[in-house]
């Protein structure tokens, strides 16, 4: 049985270090399962949003609020961050720790950029457009769905941040590799959810 702290198999890190140990494989599998649950979670939030998106009562409507260039920029930033996390994993498979860390840092910075735009957007709505959590069923559904996604982004940033710290301290091992791999899957997942949000919330909000 391979124990998790054997630095590597036969003294050398395998090509895919995230799958080298049973613990690592379990972690990746468990994480995919977890994402299945997350998909249901976001699915329910989307269903709620779709059910309530026209219930604006007296408050602002989607058309009054959304400013597509801003959201478009945020989308672009997040999509690029998915790409940089792919580069990070590629670097990991080549055992290039330096490159791995750099790409992770770029990913985190892009994530922070996305998050700032979102906070700015919410701030505009609340302060200048009189659109808060309590305004209408539409506003509640909007803030909950988009806010949940934002919270996921924030969590991802903190997580990858900690992993960067670990990489500095311990380097790339069969223990750290699964964590990095899994955080990259998480990041792609957030990105995919955002694509749906962009379509269902923003684009549809402008069209209908």
């Amino acid at each position: 049985m391979t124990s998790p702290h054997t630095e590597a198999v036969n003294g050398q890190l395998p090509h895919e270090p995230e799958k080298a140990t049973l613990e690592g494989r379990n972690k990746v599998l468990g994480f995919w399962l977890f994402l299945g649950g997350e998909a249901v979670l976001f699915g329910t939030l989307f269903a709620t949003f779709l059910a309530l998106r026209d219930q604006t009562v007296e408050g602002p409507t989607a058309n009054d609020l959304f400013h597509l260039p801003l959201v478009g920029a945020a989308t672009f930033i997040l999509l690029v961050s998915s790409l940089t996390s792919v580069f990070a994993i590629q670097a990991m498979h080549k055992h290039n720790v330096k490159k791995l860390i750099s790409w992770l840092i770029v990913t985190v910075i892009l994530g922070l950029g996305f998050l700032s735009l979102e906070i700015y957007e919410f701030y505009e709505y609340v302060v200048h457009k009189n659109f808060g959590m309590t305004t209408s069923a539409f506003s509640s559904a909007f803030y909950t769905l988009v806010g949940f996604h934002g919270a996921h982004v924030a969590f991802g940033i903190a997580w990858i941040g900690i992993l960067i710290g670990q990489l500095y301290k311990k380097g790339l091992t069969v223990v750290t590799a699964p964590k990095i791999y899994v955080s990259a899957i998480y990041w792609h997942f957030i990105d995919v959810v955002w694509v749906f949000i962009f379509t269902v919330v923003y684009l549809l909000g402008k069209v209908v």
């Binding site: 049985m1 124990s3 998790p4 702290h5 049973l22 494989r25 379990n26 599998l29 468990g30 399962l33 977890f34 299945g36 649950g37 997350e38 249901v40 979670l41 329910t44 939030l45 709620t48 059910a51 309530l52 219930q55 604006t56 009562v57 959590m133 309590t134 305004t135 209408s136 069923a137 539409f138 506003s139 509640s140 559904a141 803030y143 909950t144 900690i162 992993l163 710290g165 670990q166 301290k169 311990k170 223990v175 964590k179």
Partner: protein, 616 residues
């Protein structure tokens, strides 16, 4: 301390069992109080407000905090043994799941002491559950307590799925897996897809109540029926999450005590999968009377009735297993045999309810109460008792007293039918559920009286079971590996209770009912699949406990964040979310600690492999 830091699945099982027993007891006392109130017309033992709180807490406690952890106790104690694994896939998460469950349950029950329990029914329908109708913190305890407890359940589900997928012993293909392992697998998958829905539902309700959001308030553009959809899209699968493990237990007990292999094993597997699948398709049969329209009602009606097909397959397979077997009427088997007709009766009333036009008549009467207690108590709780008696020697190394067990069984099953059979007629006579009393001379008086007597008899049964447990613990732990002598699955091939590492050498599985197969080949031990060597074990840690304490504190803080306290300092702490932040810091701090400090675990050397583990 040992118990707070443990990550051993067998000890966590015992923790789940104790917590489940505790909540089961609380829910049972609530039930008895409800029945005493309804014993006679115009009784005033409790006020209507307290009555509402009692029925809400009884249902919520039983379903989420009583039977769920007991099922999880079995899964933890038995599943790794049945598939020949040394542990679960994520021991740390396993402990975390237990502690979040426990602290969620404690939070929910604190409501009794902190200004009123939830009072909107266990389904928490809006607008009853809105602040307009329920202005104490009761429903907040419900949303936040269940949220935390649900987190634990979800973690458990993921853990079992991963364990089964990756950690089966060599030779243990999916189609050689014991039925209990199969139902654990399917149940876990259902948990994974059902629980996130209620997570969202509870968040929305919390936001409505605490942040003033408008999801369910009509004035704000919200929609109360949305809650019902979200609740039941979780809630109906949930009832199958509960019953499938009971099916699994019955499928273990009956073959053992019939000395025959389970009839129609593969059809059992496919029936289980089919039930799980259909279970997700039928949620709106709880909503026939909300005005979904005839087309929707017809579709949900038919899909509901379809579930009778795989369920019927299961019932017949159990009967065919017993057919021509050498049946031994041990206590465990009595429960299993008692399960069969009782569950069938619950299924029949289910099909009656599934007929939409008839449901307009039955809805919200005691007929529904009778139906779901036939399936939940007559099905699930009998299954749990069967499992407890069957696996008690494996978990604790001691056999429960058989004579006392049989007396318990008779008290329980007679009490059960007395309580709930008459409720079918109460329902048909028009007695409404969730109403604190009724007028005399409508033909309801005698039947209610009988029902209460039955409930008291069930109570006696439960007390007898507890006495049995106490008596058993005063005896030495000397149960043999295979105390029933006809054990078929892997857990009976190792000592009772099992050593900490379960299997000294991982066994090689050579067929369905692996242990039986070896015994028939004349072997007294499983054939090992690996040489003797050091075994790697995860180390104990207080972090799961601490993380759950943090979540608990944050939950309380959030709940009271809008309150006016008499004390300025308290106002300051709560209204500025300082309590929430402290709680979250504890949780995230523990997570960071987990992430930054590597836990290498430890090894058991081959020489010391002989001692026994989890002793009580």
């Amino acid at each position: 301390m040992d118990w707070i830091t443990t990550v051993d699945h067998k000890k966590i099982a015992i923790l789940y069992l104790m917590a489940g027993a505790l909540f089961f007891g609380i829910g049972g006392i609530e039930a008895i109080l409800i029945r005493i109130q309804l014993m006679e017309p115009y009784n005033q033992i409790v006020s209507t407000q307290i009555f509402n709180e009692l029925i809400t807490m009884h249902g919520t406690t039983m379903i989420f905090l009583g039977v769920m952890p007991i099922i999880f106790a079995f899964m933890n104690a038995i599943l790794p043994l049945q598939i020949g694994a040394r542990d679960v896939a994520f021991p740390f998460l396993n402990a975390l799941g237990f502690w979040t469950f426990l602290f969620g349950g404690i939070l929910l029950n604190l409501s009794w002491l902190m200004g009123g329990a939830p009072d909107a029914g266990w389904t928490s329908y809006v607008p009853l559950a809105s602040t307009a109708y329920s202005d104490t913190h009761g429903v907040d305890f419900y949303t936040i307590g269940l949220q935390i407890a649900g987190l634990g359940t979800l973690i458990g589900g993921i853990n079992f799925l991963a364990t089964i997928i990756t950690m089966r012993a060599p030779g243990m293909s999916f189609m050689r897996m014991p039925m209990f392992a199969w139902t654990t697998f399917i149940t876990s998958a259902m948990i994974l897809f059902a629980f996130p829905a209620i997570t969202v539902g509870l968040v929305l309700l919390t936001f409505d109540r605490i942040l003033g959001a408008n999801f369910f308030s009509i004035e704000g553009g919200g929609n109360p029926v949305l809650w019902q959809h979200i609740f039941w899209i979780f809630g109906h699968p949930e009832v199958y999450i509960l019953i499938l493990p009971a099916f699994g237990i019955i499928s273990e007990v009956i073959p053992t005590f019939s000395r025959k292999r389970l009839f129609g094993y593969s059809s059992m597997v496919f029936a289980t999968i089919l039930i799980a699948f259909l279970g997700f398709m039928v949620w709106a049969h709880h909503m026939f009377t909300t005005g979904l329209g005839t087309i929707a009602n017809a579709l949900f009606s038919i899909s509901t009735m379809l579930i009778a097909v795989p369920t019927g397959i299961k019932i017949f397979n159990w009967l065919f297993t017993m057919w021509g077997g050498q049946i031994r009427f041990t206590t465990a088997n009595l429960y299993a045999i008692g399960f069969l007709p009782t569950f069938v009766m619950g299924g029949v009333t289910g099909v009656m309810l599934a007929s939409a036009p008839a449901d307009f008549q039955f809805h919200d009467t005691y007929f529904v109460v009778a139906h779901f207690h036939y399936v939940i108590v007559g099905g699930l709780v009998l299954g749990i008792f069967a499992g407890l008696t069957y696996w008690w020697p494996k978990m604790f190394g001691r056999l429960l007293n058989e004579t006392l067990g049989k007396i318990t069984f008779w008290f329980f099953i007679i009490g059960f039918h007395l309580t709930f059979f008459v409720q079918h007629f109460l329902g048909l006579l028009g007695m409404q559920r969730r109403v604190a009393t009724y007028a005399p001379d409508q033909g309801l008086d005698e039947l209610n009286y009988i029902s209460t007597i039955g409930a008291l008899l069930m109570g006696v049964g439960v007390i007898l079971f507890l006495i049995n447990v106490v008596i058993t613990f005063r005896k030495p732990a000397d149960a043999p590996n295979d105390p029933w002598e006809d054990g078929r699955t892997l857990e009976w091939s190792i000592p009772s209770p099992p050593p900490e590492h379960n299997f000294t050498q991982i066994p090689l599985v050579r067929g369905l009912d692996a242990w039986w197969k070896e015994k028939m080949a004349g072997n007294t031990k499983m054939t090992p699949a690996e040489p003797l060597g050091p075994i790697h074990m995860p180390s104990a840690t207080p972090l799961p406990f601490l993380m759950s304490v943090g979540i608990f504190i944050a939950g309380l803080g959030f709940m009271f964040s809008n309150d006016e306290f008499g004390n300025g300092f308290m106002n300051f702490l709560f209204n500025n979310y300082i309590v929430v932040i402290i709680g979250l810091l504890i949780t995230f701090g523990s997570m960071a600690a987990r992430s930054l400090f590597d836990d290498h675990g430890w090894h058991i050397d081959p020489e010391e492999l002989e001692d026994k583990g989890a002793k009580i």
